[in-house]
């Protein structure tokens, strides 16, 4: 078999690799939200972000001393839309402040996103270049973090939050941290 024949086998080989991924994607016992983070147990990265309502900067220091939730979102992100209703419900019943960070999003688009779907966030920081996202280790949006009173990252949820994750993981954790 010479190299030219191998070249013609390449499309088939690539497709086979792809098919394995497709197969894995179909697997029902696959829990997408279980992703360990190197950041858990470490202090929250320092940031200083402009805010959507121009109400001064959103900073690490401004959150110290209380348990908070930080949610990375973007108007262009479809799973964020899906997650939004859950966040709205959460904000209505929970006393833990929920901060939003608009990840790589134009401020006008974020504003529009929140204007049409409702705003669950106490304040919204603008991370237009994605720098803060990199510091947090964000893979993509949406992602949610719990920061404790000492400013340590305690929990990370990757992908849209759902009622199940809130009831089984988030609320017990918030209670144990004394946040609600």
């Amino acid at each position: 078999m010479n190299w030219r024949r191998v070249l013609f086998l390449l499309p088939l080989a690539l497709f086979m690799v792809l098919a394995v991924y497709f197969w894995a994607g179909l697997s029902p016992d696959h829990d997408p939200s279980l992703l360990p983070s190197a950041m858990i147990g470490k202090p929250e990265p320092v940031f200083n972000l402009a805010t959507l309502d121009n109400s001064g900067a959103l900073t690490t220091d401004g959150m110290k001393g209380q348990v908070v939730l930080i949610n990375f979102f973007a108007s262009w992100c479809v799973p964020c839309r899906e997650e939004h209703a859950t966040l709205m419900d959460f904000a209505k019943i929970s006393s833990v402040p929920l901060y939003g960070i608009a990840y790589k999003d134009k401020p006008a688009d974020s504003a529009q996103f929140l204007a049409s779907l409702g705003n669950p966030y106490k304040r919204v920081g603008l991370d237009q270049d994605g720098r803060t996202g990199i510091d947090f280790g964000v893979y993509g949006v949406p992602e949610t973090y719990v920061i404790d009173k000492q400013g340590i990252i305690r929990w990370r949820h990757v992908g849209p939050l759902d009622a199940d994750a809130i009831a089984k993981e988030l609320n017990p954790l918030l209670q144990s941290l004394g946040g609600s």
């Binding site: 499309p11 893979y139 993509g140």
Partner: protein, 666 residues
Amino acid sequence: MIIEFGHFALILALCVAMLQTGLTLRGAARNHWGMMEAGRMAALAQFALIALAFATLVHAYAISDFSVLNVAENSHSDKPLLYKLSGVWGNHEGSMVLWVLILSLYGAAVSWFGDSMPPRLAARVLGVMGMIGVGFLLFILLTSNPFLRLSPAPADGNGLNPILQDPGLAFHPPFLYLGYVGNAVSFAFAVAALIEGRVDAAWARWVRPWTLASWCTLTVGIAMGSWWAYYTLGWGGWWFWDPVENASLMPWLASTALIHSSIVVERRDTLKSWTVLLAILTFSLSLVGTFLVRSGVLTSVHAFALDPRRGVFILLLLLAAIGGSLTLYAFRAPKLESGGVFAPVSREGALVLNNLILVSCAATVFIGTLYPLFLDAVGGPKLSVGYPFFDRTFVPLMIPLLVAVAVGPMLAWKRGDLLGAFQRLWAAGIAVLVALLIGFYLTWGGPVLAVLGLGMAAWVGMGALVELAERLRLFRASWQESWRRALNHPRSAYGMTLAHLGLAVTVAGLAASAFQTENIALMHLGESIPLSGFTLRFDGIGKHDGENYTADAADFTLLNGEGAGERVVAELRPERRFFPLQQQTVAKTAIHTNLLSDFYVALGDPDGNGGWAVRAYWKPLVPFIWIGAIIMALGGAVSLSDRRWRVGVASRRAAKGALPVNGGRA
């Protein structure tokens, strides 16, 4: 009773499709005329049976027969008739029946027009299409059967998602499927050629009309979908890089590449194995798109209801169709090489560049769309990379492509003169300068990239006109000479000019979208807001009832000028429609267009104190995006009407001496 008739017809269609596959493939292998002829009849019968099945389903929707599970789940007696009918393909099961209906329509068309082809090639094409039909008919009957009954029948149905109740969307899927499924014909031709081990200019000529036809309808389908998103979602956006949109864009990019590479096969008898691979790739991307949309592997706002069993079945279909054809390709394609050689700078070279870029674009979209899936498989989450990824990867790829679009057609076959081509494009160069100057003058300090985009549009558009003028020797020869040349200029060449002009128009529309202005405000009755030099006045708000919704309808007046010079430009009536059945509110935007720009007003939520959230936009050149797409499709249609696709028929028949030139059914 009627629906059981349809169910039975579909089962019969499956049997006929099996028969079609067996007869044609075996007949072609043994060169048995009778078997191949019977296989061709089977293709016609398959279409008739699926059409019958589809008709019974349409009938069940039209009379709102809620004893049929599919109708009860997706229709409602209050719905306007148009949406009862479009509801047939507004759900997973029904849309799959439309899918196989269109597949069998193409099969019947190949069978009908197959007279012009060598009988064995036609038989093998039908054999491959029969196999695809068997796969998808099995899929429908085993996992997605719309003919199942529901007992006892409910008094009324669940209704169709209100956002889908729109004339634009009613006709969007049929066009999209005509495009998607049309790629199955090119695919079948490619596989048939691999079985025969022969690809030549004649093959390229036979496959080309099918590729063109599916490309045209896919272009229209995508444009319709994007237009629908623009005026329905109330955001003013027209492309969201959503997986479902990407699923239609990828085959479009690949089939655009295929149209161009098959020209090289036809004219220069080279790039054969590449063209065959492209044909396989194009249909594979259509299939993968179907898989992604219907298996729940990716998150999407448009996704159909999910069922893991379906995902597994479609994956098996993918393995059989794509894996099978690529295996055949791996063993047969190495024998296809040959044909003319060419210098890097030549028409062929430019078409290869076009192919490389278009395929890279498709690969980019593919990676961006499937990135979440790849992450998912290694333990990652469902995420979307969104437009920042596509903006940074897709847009830079488009720039060299657009430069090459104008230059390519100016180059000669085999060996071209790049410098000469650029020299002859001086008029296009001037057009670019003028566009840039005007652009920068009007929008100094605005987005630079957008002005450059307008320059690219001018380059592509003027380049297409210069090429046409060159061919007709316009302004060089006498008018009579140019006129004579214009009459003899092939339609396929006019088609190319039109399609490239359409591309220029679309690019202009895309680029200019960066200049849009918006004003989002809470407005009370009688208030006015400025909108890009105009004034938008909130005149009134009232209620009105539709067939299956109630609406808040607002009256806005768009005014130009001030004081005594003020005059009314347009009345705009955006609505907020509430569908009680689904408890869902849908914005009905109001758009005033003069084809150069749109004034776009969407009515948001009331604040309870007489104030209404209003989103108003001025969008320059935005209609160009869709006008350009229609021009592109028109170019494809003009090319499709070229005599060349029929001349080949006549000469072959004349050579055989058996049939008159204009005889037969073609």
